[in-house]
């Protein structure tokens, strides 16, 4: 019997528009207003500075463990900005920059970081899901949301975020499969930041790219320079348009790098060398975008200084507000809130016991 060739009828493209030297491919570059460009830059810078402050707050014991976004700002702002306000944002736990774009208040985030559920305040009307911590599980929900949106004819799209580690999870594969089988208008955004905590990308998969996994599910996949905000936007914009017009899902792999630790609980010097970090620092997405804005005359030393000052003020004010809210978060009865629509008899009884100082004791009530 002769051997015959078979295989996917499409291939994985790699998209880069603004290169490491700040040079722009004018043919591919999406057109934006100056205001929008500056808003994107400001959001990225805010996320970076916010992380720097959070690291200090965490090291001084004021807030708990968090996952820094440092290095991935372009991948997030580039993709999320392709959505309309009525679309759905289904994040994992590192989407600080995307959350800021979607209107999340920095003070709320700090209250959350300090360990209070009350910090989860979803902006009025926003279709933003809260953080999902188990890796990869939220992608299925994005597919289900998108299915419901198609069935109800609302024209909405769902965009979900995850890392390279998540592509090893069964739920990643189930989500892509369901989304494709059922024509779900969903965009899967993989931020390949090279490490799943300490384990490098090469230990997740022997696939040449993560984007090519899309082909196995009969959907489009594309790999983009994740530190290039224009490439991230262009790929996401294309995927969102396809989702809206044809309901077909897309997998986007943003090749990027986490410049900081996975969370404040790990020490990256144990699993990667400084040389590698320095190589990626040269590809810093904020620097790269900033140099283009300078070239276009939208940014100079003076205006950058102003922007930095305003961001510092924003963060100062956010922490002031967060501290006040944390001080007022008295008692523990809030732990019983929002478990079910109506509290059960048992929850009412246990809450009463706790407020009477008999928490955890049952039997002599």
């Amino acid at each position: 019997m002769p051997l015959t060739e078979t295989g996917p009828d499409s291939k994985i493209e790699y998209l880069s528009i603004l290169n490491e030297d700040g040079e722009l491919d004018k043919e591919l570059a999406p057109q934006f207003t100056d205001d929008l460009l500056l808003k994107g830059y400001r959001t990225m810078l805010l996320a970076r500075r916010f992380d720097e402050r959070r690291l200090k707050l965490q090291r001084s014991g004021r807030i708990g463990t968090f996952a820094p976004v440092n290095g991935q700002e372009a991948a997030q702002v580039g993709t999320i900005s392709a959505l309309r306000e009525d679309d759905w944002f289904v994040p994992s736990y590192r989407e600080t920059a995307a959350n800021f774009w979607r209107g999340t208040n920095p003070a709320d985030m700090l209250v959350f970081d300090a360990g209070y559920n009350e910090g989860i305040v979803i902006p009025e009307g926003a279709r933003n899901l809260p953080n999902s911590v188990p890796v990869g599980t939220q992608m299925l929900q994005a597919a289900g949301i998108a299915y419901a949106a198609r069935l109800e004819g609302t024209g909405e799209v769902a965009m979900t975020y995850f890392g390279d580690g998540a592509t090893s999870q069964g739920d990643f594969h189930e989500a892509l499969n369901f989304a494709s089988v059922f024509d779900c208008p969903v965009v899967f955004v993989c931020q390949n930041n090279q490490y799943a905590i300490s384990v490098p990308r090469a230990r997740q998969t022997r696939s040449q790219t993560l984007a090519q996994k899309a082909l196995a599910y009969g959907m489009d996949g594309i790999q983009v320079d994740g530190n290039d905000i224009f490439a991230c936007f262009a790929a996401a914009d294309d995927a969102v348009r396809r989702a809206r017009e044809t309901f077909r899902p897309t997998l986007i792999e943003c090749v990027t790098y986490r410049l900081e630790m996975h969370t404040t609980a790990d020490d990256p010097s144990r699993y990667r060398d400084e040389e590698e970090v320095e190589k990626w620092e040269k590809r810093d997405p904020i620097e790269r975008f900033g140099s283009l804005l300078r070239e276009r005359g939208l940014l100079d030393d003076g205006s950058l200084e102003d922007m930095e000052a305003k961001i510092a003020e924003t963060i100062d004010a956010a922490w002031d507000e967060a501290e006040k809210r944390i001080e007022k978060a008295e008692g523990v009865s809030a732990i019983f809130d929002h478990i079910l629509e109506q509290e059960t008899h048992e929850q009412v009884r246990q809450k009463q016991q706790m407020s009477d100082g008999l928490g955890g004791v049952s039997g002599y009530g």
């Binding site: 809260p130 599980t137 069935l151 739920d171 989500a175 809130d337 929002h338 079910l340 048992e346």
Partner: protein, 326 residues
Amino acid sequence: MAELTMVEAINLALRQEMEQDEKVVILGEDVGWDGGIFRVTEGLVEQFGEDRVIDTPLAESGILGFSIGMAIHGMKPVPEMQFSGFSYLGFHQIESHASRLRWRSQGRFTVPMTVRMPYGGGVRALEHHSESREVFYAHMPGLKFVVPSGPRNARALLVAAIRDPDPVVFFEPKKSYRAFREEVPDEDEPAEIGPASIVRPGDGLTMVAWGSMLPATLEAAERIAEEEGAEPEVIDVTTLAPLDYGTVAGSVKKTGRCVVVQEAPLTYGPAGEIAARLQEEAFLRLKAPVARVAGPDVHMPYFAREKSYLPGAERIIQASRAALHY
């Protein structure tokens, strides 16, 4: 009013809810053209189409995570796990997301889904097709957990579960699927998730059971009444979360004796929880220790020996006599 099996009664509940609320959708493995392997969803895809009765890829986590997404968007999905023994492949979606989303989002997003799954032994099935692990779901905050015992309450409770604003796991005792018929009214019956039912009043002994254990418990109660001259009160716990401690404790305060029957392995099972609560609420009224009749702490045996595992009337009678003569 028709005489229906539990399978037919559940089918009726699904059909009526889908007719009156277009947000109700069914999804799972083989639920469409095959009508479900127990025929619970028979005829529904013909009536409601493939967008609302969805044959999914074979993936439990996929089915549940996808359902959670639909529920977040405002639909009322009723996913089916073909057997509860396969639900563990999607357990994390129930624990990590369905039970937590209301809490995690401070009330912004809710998951009004009802996960149906057949459970329990007694039908000579394969490994993983016969187990009873209710404690996994009853132990989870943010989730309701319902176990009907017969056609009539299966229909009424399933309707209540589908209309409930929170996620519900709905355990269907497959041994009772076609074992007997009951009259089920054509029109909606009001049902409430939570309250236990006193299905046989009495004052000599309290017997507590749920799901597949109810028929054997009722049989044992009749024999005890005849042979011991004590009238057992039998309580059907139709909801394991939230558990109706009040009805059980109220009965035991009257009778002073209690036997709790569960199909699950003994250790850490719901019977232990009920016994602990009774010694808190009725300690001075108890005339005998609370007896538990349960499966042993082993895996459900292959089917040739499943009867030796399953609690039956004889074991319940033995425990009841011990409680009466303590």
